[in-house]
Symmetry: C2
Subunit: 444 residues, 2 copies
């Protein structure tokens, strides 16, 4: 297991204070709560820094990790980069994205907790595929609610999940009250799919609802990305002035970038690169959202979490980067953004797909449309004014785009359109949210 980190690394201790606590509404307090395995609870709140990766999980990691890191010299030439661009590629595993890193950990913990069926909602299908693969690995059943439009646009995603033994339902479905009452496809369709999964999980014994991104423990599991990258860059004697990842809720960006923050805080890195979250201009929570208490799904029964959000009721336009179609950012990423430790940039999907196309031609790796946002941000960073130091850019390519090729078809056909979030709609969707203040967050 050469090069595979023995432990995950938490950035929570660097904060020096706990994250703002969730606010539990009445409905959730009285509802049947699904038990989260103790280890995941601890990983979400403890100030412990290093978490040894359980051997069964590490053995699975060893089948596809360390993931490759290389200098993208042809992409640099293609875009006229003035500094080196290093790529950390997470698309080489069966699930096709970084999501498998946390799916395996979660499946392991849930299996040990006696759970027999993992349930989730998925947008682009990457999380659903990862969870299906992890469930198959640890002998669990798996049920996935996938956004209806996404399932139609990316039918192979459904096929792949079914091949891995999962039950796949288009959301809204007839299986849940939420789906039946939805009156058809919703504006915030991912929140609805997640809400259906929550309801379905609560309705059956032995079922657990799993979350792919925003949770603090999933960011912890993703720290293998950044930990490996730091070592790989060091071996290549390479320095980077920026670390860039795309943000749906934030697990890819967080996994790649936050170990740099932890390493710098521990005095192991001489300088801290800029940590740049590349989000979709259609869901610009980090650049145009508010730091407020909001829900993560559409059931309205979950806790309110402190996050950068454009409002869970915001009608998100359809997009090829379905994995970025989420209204909020992870609590941890949001807190760091609020403290000024994370930079953010919003990228339109046309720019993202064009960056992805040029990367595919140059590097012979087709990036997912989501990762195209990170590549576009990297291209901007590498072609802008030369920084004082000639440090490079590290960009995490979160997954492959082989099951998203219709996006590139549309790009070649010239039919890709951008719909940046409307200012008035943003204001309306966030108007009633309670902003996070020093007082509400319990911060002195």
């Amino acid at each position: 297991m050469t090069g595979l980190p023995p432990a995950w690394r938490s950035v929570l201790p660097c904060l020096g204070e706990p994250l703002p606590p969730d606010l539990t509404p009445q409905a959730a307090a009285t509802g049947v709560s699904v038990q989260l395995p103790l280890e995941l609870v601890r990983q979400a709140i403890s100030a412990r820094e290093w978490w040894p990766i359980p051997e069964p999980v590490r053995a699975e990691y060893a089948r596809y990790r360390p993931s490759p890191l290389w200098r993208a010299r042809r992409f640099e030439a293609e875009i006229g980069a003035r500094v080196p661009i290093y790529v950390k590629y997470e698309g080489g595993n069966l699930s096709g994205s970084h999501k498998l890193n946390t799916a395996l950990a979660q499946a392991y913990y849930y299996q040990r907790a006696g759970v027999r069926e993992l349930v989730t909602g998925t947008g682009a299908g990457q999380w659903g595929t990862a969870l299906a693969a992890a469930a198959a690995t640890f002998g669990l059943a798996c049920t996935v609610f996938m956004v209806d439009g996404s399932l139609r646009d990316k039918p192979y995603r459904g096929s792949l999940m079914r091949l891995l033994g999962a039950s796949v339902h288009a959301s809204p479905s007839a299986l849940t009250g939420l789906g039946r009452g939805s009156g058809g496809p919703a504006g915030n369709s991912l929140a609805l799919a997640i809400g259906e999964a929550v309801e379905y999980a609560k309705a059956g014994p032995g079922r657990a609802f799993c979350i792919g991104s925003g949770e603090t423990y999933s960011l912890l599991h993703q720290s293998v990305i950044g930990l490996e990258a730091i070592e790989q860059l060091s071996e290549a004697d390479a320095r980077v002035g920026a670390v860039i990842g795309c943000v749906g809720a934030g697990s890819n960006f967080g996994g790649a970038a936050l170990p740099f923050l932890a390493g710098y805080a521990a005095g192991e890195l001489g300088e801290l690169p800029e940590l740049v979250a590349a989000e979709s201009a259609a869901t610009p929570k980090l650049t145009r959202g508010v730091y407020a208490y909001d829900v993560t799904d559409a059931t309205g029964t979950g806790p309110l979490e402190a996050m950068y959000t454009i409002g869970s009721g915001f009608a998100i336009p359809s997009s090829h980067a379905a994995g970025l179609r989420f209204h909020g950012a992870a609590k941890l990423v949001s807190a760091l953004r609020h403290r000024g430790q994370v930079a953010a940039v919003a990228i339109g999907q046309a720019e993202a797909l064009e960056a992805g196309r040029r990367f595919a031609l140059a590097e012979l790796v087709v990036p997912a449309p989501e990762a195209g946002h990170a590549l576009a941000a990297a291209a901007r960073a590498a072609t802008g004014e030369v920084p004082a130091k000639e440090d490079g850019v590290l960009v995490c390519v979160s997954g492959h785009g082989l099951l998203d090729l219709t996006a590139y078809d549309d790009l070649l056909a010239g039919t890709v359109t951008d719909t940046p979030a409307d200012e008035q709609a943003l204001r309306a969707a966030t108007a009633r949210l309670r902003l996070v203040t020093a007082q509400s967050a319990g911060v002195s």
Copy 2:
């Protein structure tokens, strides 16, 4: 470039005699011939054993090679194997299959010869994708004729080739006389697509027709697979009693297996494993065909080559393993089969896809339907009577099946059918072929 072979290895010297020469019909002799680069001509006929890989090609190989080899312990458990099964996986590159190994070499030689546009025909699309990627790498244009039904079944293949800059045409097309005169989809659709490519390439200056499989030089380029595998097995201190690969024309099987033959002939290997070609029961050239002179495409103008064949006019049923839908085997593989140095087994697609499904669940790698045939043959070999020695089985998984997921959809839906070649149709399709005899082959 650790572990990457410095040279290709030819098995031709092991034969001790040249391959039966092609028979050039009148039409070909008077037609405009497309110039094959001298180096490819030499590689197809020379008795030289080692061919240094040109640095630009080797630099490209280094981006995705050595390809991984691992012991498939969970697949062994899943099928109840009595001996270890080692997997050599060629699906990890952008083209998704081993075909990139020869595509890069060919693109390099053609570019040096002044060619500006590579033209080919493709069935499953793996060869077309590989050639599109190689052409993009060496700055050449690329035009692909893809079997119409395949292009409809696997639309993402077309998308991927276009993303890589290739022009993709459904065959039969209106671009060629052959396509216009075909009266629609043909029984031997791959031979028609290849024939269209040949005609199109001849019609324009600077164009060259490229062949993905059967040519002796493409088997030479594929020798990197087996050369790496021998070294990887040796490092793992593993012995194999059988080497198995699937056979369309034979470049995957040949690439994986023939370096074992060359190594044994040179006294480097103590024992020679059985070399097992896994073909489709729908196109059983090696198990039920004849060793005769036949054409490789549907133009009827090419040379007659000595090959195991079911007849170029045989109406091949549609199949999910489109890459195996070819009527003949490579000249080199055929000659070795005729000498008894290559074993063969015919596998139905239901058995192949079920082996692929079980492999995907166990190893978290989705194999192409073509590779499913090799996996089914490996499962047969590993679960059969225990050989005297407990040697393992090496199986080459030629590519991933992420763009072939409809095949697995059909498997799960129970709608996969098998159509083994009909005896009478086989007899009819091969009745007029001139058999290869010692005399006709120029062998004393």
